[in-house]
């Protein structure tokens, strides 16, 4: 057996070396072209997705600019200030439209932060449990199930919110309306969980065994090791996980469109999450379909899209920063 293998190896080697070392011109050219073409193809395929991002930025900016830059400089500033600081949102009016998006921006922040208040503690603690405490077999069962959460279509979450959570809030909690900021926050927190759990769990697992054992060696208990060594060591990864979860929540459309009630105002008193709010994404989804093209209403919706894009872009940068720091740290640099 070994002999025949050896024999074949020899033969292969012989074949390989029996080929002329010098390539003919055509072979040389073909090889050269194949490499360059392959290179170019792969590059352009990759570049396509970069291009898509750039194109989205370009078109969103192109369509939102006419809303701001119209008339004199003072008017432009006035429109921008109205957009960012006023709460009257009434763009469909023919006589005196209002374009104050403040209540919509605040609505987005409400549901996003509300979602984080629930999802961050639950997500991080679940990640701790899965990475350090759960026995291997349990973890093998739990992780895929949690990941299923990410695969459920958002409209299904929306139906759940409207048909089950909303009546429950009205009948059991006694809220006047069931589609409100709290409802949307709860559903969004469930949707952000898989992201937070899996990224945070990766971060915690990446802290090496030797770090944990050194801690135990110094006499620390399991809880002390977890709280004072492992979590601090992986904190940039956990922050990145939270930001990714936040991006999931802020960009979600269908669920908030169905669950938040879409009343464009800031809840008063400010802490009353049982009132309905409207988010940036829901406003675009609800109004863009029928709005006549190239009107102020059309452009202001793109202005909202631009704002949303800048938001997520900023968050993405922050999470990249923490990810990079985490990678550096876990390599011991």
């Amino acid at each position: 057996m070994t002999e025949s293998l050896l024999q074949r190896d020899k033969n292969d080697a012989a074949v390989e070396f029996s080929r002329p070392l010098r390539l003919s011109v055509t072979e040389d050219l073909r090889g050269f072209l194949a490499e360059k073409i392959g290179h170019a193809t792969l590059f352009s395929i990759t570049f396509l997705s970069v291009l898509a991002v750039m194109a989205i930025f370009y078109f969103v900016i192109q369509e939102s600019v006419p809303f701001i830059f119209k008339g004199s400089f003072g008017e432009s500033i006035g429109r921008l200030t109205e957009f960012l600081t006023r709460t009257g949102w009434y763009p469909q009016s023919h006589d005196n439209p209002e374009y104050g998006a403040l209540s919509i921006i605040v609505g987005s922040l409400y549901v996003t932060l509300g979602a984080l208040v629930v999802a961050v503690p639950v997500g991080v603690l679940a990640a701790v449990f899965l990475s350090d405490i759960a026995p291997f077999s349990l973890r093998q069962i739990c992780k895929p199930i949690i990941e299923i959460l990410a695969a459920i279509p958002s409209v299904a979450y929306g139906v759940f919110a409207v048909m089950i959570v909303a009546p429950w809030m009205q009948n059991t909690l006694g809220f006047t309306t069931g589609t409100n900021a709290l409802n949307a926050s709860l559903i969004l927190s469930i949707m952000a969980l898989p992201t937070i759990i899996s990224v945070a769990e990766d971060a915690l697992s990446a802290v090496g065994r030797e770090v944990r054992e050194a801690s135990y060696g110094l006499g620390a208990t399991r809880a002390e090791t977890m709280l004072k060594v492992v979590i601090p060591a992986s904190h940039s990864g956990i922050v990145a996980a939270i930001i990714l979860g936040m991006m999931r929540a802020i960009g979600e459309t269908m669920v908030v469109w169905m669950a938040s009630g879409n009343a464009s105002r800031i809840p008063s008193p400010w802490w009353d999450l049982s009132q309905s709010v409207r988010t940036l994404t829901a406003t675009i989804a609800g109004e863009l379909g029928e709005v006549p093209k190239n009107t102020d209403h059309f452009h202001v919706l793109f202005m909202i899209a631009l704002l949303l894009l800048l938001f997520t872009f900023g968050l993405n940068m922050v999470s990249e920063f923490f990810m990079a720091r985490f990678k550096k740290k876990s390599r011991g640099l």
């Binding site: 709460t87 009257g88 949102w89 009434y90 469909q92 009016s93 023919h94 209540s103 409207v162 048909m163 909303a166 009546p167 009205q170 006047t176 309306t177 069931g178 589609t179 469109w257 169905m258 009630g261 879409n262 009343a263 464009s264 105002r265 009132q275 309905s276 409207r278 609800g286 109004e287 379909g289 029928e290 709005v291 006549p292």
Partner: protein
Amino acid sequence: MMKITVRILMMFVITLLAGNAMAAEKLQIDGSTTVGPIGDAFAEAFKDKVSITVSKTGSGDGAAALVEGRCDIAMMSRFMKDKEYKAAVNKDIYPVAHAIAMDGVCPIVHPSNPVKGLTSDQIRAIYKGEITNWKDLGGADRPIVMISRDTSSGTYETFHKLVMKKEKMTDSVEYVNSNPQAHARVKSTVGAIGYVGLGFLDRNVKALTIDGIKPSQSTISKGTFPVSRPLFLFTNGYPKLGSVVHAFCTFHLTEEGQEIIEDKGFVPVTDY
């Protein structure tokens, strides 16, 4: 295997050719998004006879398209305005209206609500945020939850024009994006008031009378119900008898056409 594939391919090609030959006549329909679903369903019924393109760009654009000769039939959720008529006549186009259906929008409340009817002024006051509790309207002491359709829908447009008199709704009004969803929200919310097309009324919600008039097929098709409006198709002159356009514009008189109209939540213009 090969044979079957070839046969299927051949059949495909033949149907394609035949379809092309049959659908030589082309019909352009343009206009209101409210009438759009009816236009779509009618076009579906005519698809063997003629190739129809239905675009839904709004009543104003439908009128403009008819005037400019960009379409054969304009769908409109309102009558043509003076200006549009003048522009048409100046271009030697004589718009003729065909009322094909009525659109009635009914206010609905939770079945447990004792309020039976409201005046349109009261409904306007509710949506303007001036009346905020059912006790002011003879109901229980319970805050009113106002539910509206999204501002881009035709149902909203009708309600906004006929009940709100184009005045602004207060900012605490909630918006939902379909008739079934408005129905579902009112069904499950005790203090809610909403509005839906007549076709969406059932036992789970209570339809209110407006100014004492009950929303029904009969009151809407007669036009006595205050929140009802006719939906139109406009053609250039009365269509030639026997032409496809004529058949299309009179399709609402057939049983199939009436079924479609009811199916889309509108009311046929007949009364029997």
